[in-house]
């Protein structure tokens, strides 16, 4: 198909009413869940995942990417309005966003967050569009041993770069590899680790594992928090009466709406910080394992260091809002680059989008764009206009989102839990999947409680079969000679980089430990 013809087909597909409506719905849901503390884009995508398989690929992808983009900005609404980040990615925004609000600039802070978020998002989306195809062309030239080295490198990066202790990241990744090994051997087709259970022959399904690990465990944590709060309130009511009123901490003093107007001049004054955040976020987002939260904090740090008014950071600076918001949103498109080019999801959300692609019969990897050109080009168009939908919807509905972010968790937990259960069941009408979902929920809950990062577990579960396939293919080509795995400069480069990352992570852990001991 000619490029112009392809573009026309993609445009026609991307601008159908159904795709537009599902993308808007996705953005709306994304901003809402992002704004509600405790809920996140990952959780919403995991819940929606079993449901979207009934939609066409473009509608499904439009909705998911809408949720992803919307949730990135949504997190900043409660961060600025109440000082509570709606998502982990917005944690860095609290620092200056909440102080700007207390200084009497809530509108400026929210709109600065919105504009910088959309700018970062567009930079990242364009990076994906222009980088994925050339990188996929390079990936086609890689053989099994190079792919195995790339998998090892990615797994290491995923385990080490996720927030928290790298050792726990590696532990979680190994559990993920084991879960991924259950069922059919990817080369010989014989079954293993099934413990005599016939339904396990096909392995653990992606949907119950993803929804259980991400959504059910998170719901469990929320449930526990609400239960503890309820117990405290019950205790208080038995004593001197429950204090269910609002605290005065977040109330602004001397608010003058006339002094809180947003303008182009203000946007331009934060443009440098926005661009720093956009570029940092895009770079970090493209690295497997490094999430939006890390991007937010790094962008904030860099923005502060390179700002002429760095002393104002931490006191309600709008640049301090723009940098982390652009940074975390810029991971959206970039985190899909490794997925589209190599079939390796760079983040938990990218893994969920990869799962959605697989449910639609599209296998992520170097040949994905070439083999599904009309759908993928339509997706690229949706990727760009979803950013503008985010801008428009947020502009119109900002007060509504601020109100929605105050919905109490106790009302959301039962509904979201029912959605997860029924959604998982509906994906294959399998009762066994529901048991897997609940088991994974318990596993995820225990690991989450002890601060094991769950991203590496899920990503290793997805990457495991691919890693094994390329390892064994390489060993077959090398006639069983292990040295064949290292007889390629590209593979050696990946191994070298992986070792360098391990050393760097260990040094960082040691430094952290020394710092802790000195305190």
């Amino acid at each position: 198909m000619e490029f112009v013809e392809l573009l026309q087909t993609a445009m026609a597909e991307a601008f159908t009413l159904g795709v537009l409506l599902f993308s808007i719905l996705g953005v709306f849901v994304g901003i809402t869940v992002g704004a509600i503390p405790g809920l996140s884009g990952d959780l919403a995508i995991a819940i929606i995942l079993p449901i979207v398989f009934t939609l066409s690929p473009t509608r499904a992808l439009g909705m998911l990417i809408g949720i992803y983009k919307g949730s990135m900005f949504g997190g900043s609404i409660s961060a600025i309005s109440f000082g509570v980040p709606g998502t982990a990615a917005a944690a860095a925004t609290v620092e200056d966003g909440y102080k700007a609000k207390k200084r009497g600039q809530p509108r400026r802070a929210l709109f600065t967050a919105l504009y910088s978020s959309v700018t970062g998002d567009i930079v990242s989306s364009l990076t994906l569009i222009f980088l994925a195809l050339p990188m996929a062309k390079i990936a086609i030239m890689l053989g099994p041993r190079e792919f195995f080295a790339l998998y090892v490198f990615s797994l290491m990066l995923i385990a080490l770069l996720t927030q928290g202790n790298p050792l726990k990241g590696i532990g979680a990744a190994v559990i993920g590899l084991l879960l991924g090994a259950i069922g059919m051997d990817p080369m010989a087709g014989s079954t293993r680790l099934t413990f005599g259970i016939p339904v396990l022959r096909g392995g653990l399904q992606l949907v119950p594992v993803l929804v259980g690990i991400f959504a059910i465990s998170e719901l469990g944590m929320q449930f526990k928090n609400v239960l503890m709060k309820k117990n405290e309130e019950d205790e208080a009511s038995r004593g001197k009466g429950a204090d269910l009123g609002f605290s005065s901490e977040g109330i602004m003093e001397h608010y003058d709406p006339a002094k809180d107007k947003m303008s182009l001049r203000i946007y331009l004054s934060t443009l440098k910080a926005t661009l720093i955040g956009s570029l940092t976020g895009t770079f970090i987002g493209a690295l497997p394992g490094a999430g939006s939260s890390l991007a937010g904090f790094m962008s904030y740090g860099l923005g502060k260091r390179l700002s002429k008014k760095s002393s104002e950071f931490g006191k309600g600076s709008l640049e301090g809002v723009a940098a982390p918001e652009a940074g975390n949103s810029a991971t959206c498109g970039a985190s899909l680059v490794p997925l589209f080019a190599f079939g390796i999801p760079g983040s938990a959300t990218a893994a969920l989008i990869g799962a959605a692609l697989m449910m639609q019969g599209i296998t992520p990897g170097p040949r994905m764009i070439a083999e599904n050109a009309p759908v993928m080009y339509a997706f690229f168009i949706v990727l760009v206009y979803a950013s503008f939908m985010n801008l428009g919807l947020s502009h119109l509905l900002l007060p509504l989102y601020a109100k929605l972010s105050m919905i109490k968790t106790k009302f959301l937990v039962p509904v979201v839990f029912m959605l997860a259960l029924l959604g998982t069941y509906s994906a294959r009408n399998s009762v066994f999947d529901v048991w897997v979902l609940l088991t994974m929920g318990v596993l995820g809950y225990i690991l989450r409680k002890h601060k094991f990062p769950l991203g590496p577990l899920v990503l290793a579960f997805i990457l495991g079969p691919g890693t094994e396939r390329s390892l064994r293919q390489a060993l077959v080509i090398g006639r069983g000679d292990v040295s064949y795995l290292f007889a390629s400069p590209i593979a050696l480069g990946f191994y070298g980089a992986a070792i360098a990352f391990i050393v760097a992570a260990m040094l960082a852990v040691k430094k952290q430990q020394e710092k802790k001991e000195s305190l």
Binding site: F223, K230, F417, Y425, V434, H450
Partner: protein, 156 residues
């Protein structure tokens, strides 16, 4: 020097390490002596063996690295959460298949909200109304958008 008790010595992470080591040894044993069709060369067992060895190594490293944290793997509140959320979820799912989607969703949603609301704030309106809204969302999604195939139930 004060002698430390086992309870003091073993942090939750170290207990995780022990679980990893035991799981790794059991897995390795199973790959070597269990009912596996290994095949020629690097067969079916190769990758799981590598993973089990990695698990054992991680378990050993955990023993040396984590010494301070004294939290239990699961405390009473966690157990309560797991039983209340996960087990009631399993019951809800069985109820959906037996008495029907709408009835069980309404009952489950209302019951859970009632359970999570503190006694001073608990009243019928605050429990029934969100239960009703939750049921409508579920009904719309799983009968209009996604057609959920369920066995014939007692009610609706």
């Amino acid at each position: 020097m004060k002698k430390r008790s086992i309870k003091e010595y073993y942090s939750a992470e170290r207990a995780f390490g022990i679980i990893f080591i035991l799981l790794g040894i059991a897995g390795l044993y199973d790959t070597m002596y269990g009912d596996w069709s290994s095949g020629p060369g690097y067969g079916t067992t190769f990758f799981p063996q590598l993973t089990f060895i990695l698990l054992i190594i991680i378990g050993i490293v955990f023993q040396f690295y984590f010494r301070e944290n004294k939290t239990r793997i699961i405390d009473w509140m966690d157990l309560k959460t797991i039983v209340m959320l996960i087990c009631t979820g399993a019951v809800y799912f069985q109820l959906v298949r037996r008495i029907g989607l709408i009835t069980s969703s309404f009952l489950y949603c209302s019951a859970l909200i009632a359970m999570l609301t503190s006694s001073p704030a608990r009243n019928m309106k605050k429990i029934v109304l969100p239960g009703l809204i939750g049921t409508i969302i579920i009904w719309l999604l799983f009968t209009k958008l996604v057609v959920l195939i369920l066995p014939r139930a007692l009610l609706f």
